[in-house]
Symmetry: C2
Subunit: 350 residues, 2 copies
């Protein structure tokens, strides 16, 4: 069956890296039963500067008919920081109720971690981040702004529904793994005695349905320590939106940095969106030297979530090989161009 993919190349290096991902997906079509239909959406800084539009309701209605969204990057020095992130990235996450943010932390080669004595077997976990509420709810305000009596508030809002669905997803994820089955809740329940008390209760309550899954708890401050000292202790981690933002970036770093970090914004019942975590890197845009591996890994995760694990694994394996053999762009130690990395991956897939 044909899968319809909405491609949003976006800004800076977005178009270059996304086109490698599309190249790899087209190669997958050749060597498997997969069939994709791509449509590009020219959203991003250029479009915004020309039209003043970010993502209109019409575009959202159209996107709703796709099986997935494949996004490059947004961000442009000509646009005030935050505008494109809010108006495109966060808006799509919220509009399509992509309540899961899936972030694999996976070291492909020991060379790439800044940590001493850690191997790929030590750094291999999945972080499941809540993606539609918490401190990202946008609720808050000012009292007496711009005076010495100013009060500024930002609300961490959690709902039972929101916490339940992401926690259940994480339990299911842990349970469906072939090897270790462990789920760690990361929160700050000793201080956030309302919002994270709810997380605690839901975690324990659902835990009764998932007896085969080892259940662990870790305060966020201790979690960051353990991520760099004993990353091998983690398997699947579930956490709130804000802490997820923080620990997934730390996780990205210990597995080799932004050049390899992937983010899936998932609505299991709706339209999901896949993106490399790195930004638009305007300073190197258009020079055919941006590292496309995170974008390709994002494509691989998209294929997996669309239901084709075997094909996804092939792509991931190709990426791993290209890293081990230095068939990469200069930032990863190789000497290939963006295009050449894409071609190399396709040749590995054959």
């Amino acid at each position: 069956m044909t899968k319809r993919i909405a491609v949003i190349p976006g800004d800076g290096i977005g178009p270059e890296v996304v086109s490698q991902g599309v190249k790899v997906l087209k190669k997958l079509e050749e060597i498997s039963d997969l069939d994709f239909e791509f449509k590009e959406f020219p959203l991003g800084a250029e479009h915004y500067l020309k039209t003043g539009e970010l993502v209109t309701d019409e575009v959202k209605e159209e996107l709703a008919n796709f099986d997935a969204i494949y996004l490059g990057a947004v961000g442009d020095p000509r646009v005030e920081p935050g505008v494109l992130e809010h108006g495109i990235l966060l808006d799509l996450r919220f509009s399509f109720d992509q309540y899961i943010n899936l972030r694999p932390i996976r070291l492909y080669d020991s060379r790439f971690t800044p940590l001493k004595d850690k191997s790929p077997a030590d750094i291999d976990m999945m972080i499941v981040r809540e993606n539609t509420e918490g401190l990202y709810s946008g609720v808050g305000g000012f009292l007496k702004k711009d005076t010495e009596d100013e009060v500024a508030t930002q609300e961490m809002v959690n709902t039972y529904k929101g916490v339940e669905r992401v926690t259940r997803y994480a339990y299911e994820y842990a349970k469906n793994q072939s090897q270790e089955q462990k789920l760690t809740l990361c929160d700050k329940s000793n201080v956030l005695t309302y919002a994270h008390d709810l997380w605690q209760r839901v975690f324990v309550e659902l835990g009764k349905e998932y007896k085969s899954v080892d259940q662990d708890h870790m305060l966020v401050d201790a979690m960051t320590m353990k991520l760099v000292r004993n990353p091998e202790d983690f398997d699947v981690v579930v956490t709130c939106n804000m802490f997820g933002d923080i620990i997934t970036d730390l996780g990205a770093e210990i597995q080799g940095g932004m050049g390899l970090a992937v983010s899936g914004n998932i609505n299991p019942e709706g339209v999901s969106m896949f993106e490399p975590v790195h930004g638009s890197a305007p300073d190197i845009a258009g020079e055919n030297k941006a590292n496309p591996l995170a974008a390709v890994l994002a494509a691989s995760m998209m294929v997996e979530i669309l239901g084709y694990s075997k094909e996804a694994a092939k792509v991931e394996k190709a990426v791993k090989l290209s890293l081990q053999n230095d068939q990469t762009t200069p930032d990863m130690g190789g000497s290939l161009t963006t295009d050449q990395v894409g071609d190399h991956l396709c040749s590995l897939l054959e």
Copy 2:
């Protein structure tokens, strides 16, 4: 002039490590003009279980007459998690308006960092954490608790006054350093558009008074990456209570872990409190094997904040030497007891 120190040994290994700190302070009295008067306060789990009291108003009134508080650790398996932390640690921070949490991140020997290729010159910074508001304000609540419609909220509350005073402290700290003078604001202003907008405005506004200080900004997610990849880029960092909690623990880990991490809860106009960051470690309490170095470094920071930098530097130097020469407890690679480490430090001070 005599400085009056209130000593709260607390729970678990607290008494053992704090007595090494007191031993070192007494040695300082011998070899310098310093003069201390110590009084012990038996606060902690034992006292709570016997009397039901945490810190009474009477005790607070008494503590208010001291020059500083020297705290070991609180936490006991017989008491529900959170009770002692809230009822003692956080209560003292808030009651004495200790609005600065000062956390030095300093690597004494390359062996102790989990990071590749980082030396003491690379890991040397001061994190200045706001300590009395933000997500720690305790504001929040439940709607329809224990139903499927439950909403749980937790409020990040910041005031101009609160942000201004900690930011000013951090600028002063950066300015008064002999070498590099750089201050980095760590926030999530692209998402926390109210609470952290205030931080941004205050940082820029005060920055005009501190032209000699290099001013930098980093989002908290990027900050965690940079702390493990390029810790050498940081000098002084200022941040909100919650993010400070997270990044100081990460910082503690990259400089060698909890065995060496120190926290000063400071009210520049009032009574400050100094503590090792590690917990009460009940599993090894009373065995004379707990590592006292963080407690001794906390004593050194106390001496410094009381105005005796030269004497504080001597203590820090002794700790550094004992680490380099493996005159430490087993957790740091040595084979001394808690007491012996204290004695060794005293002999180094002579």
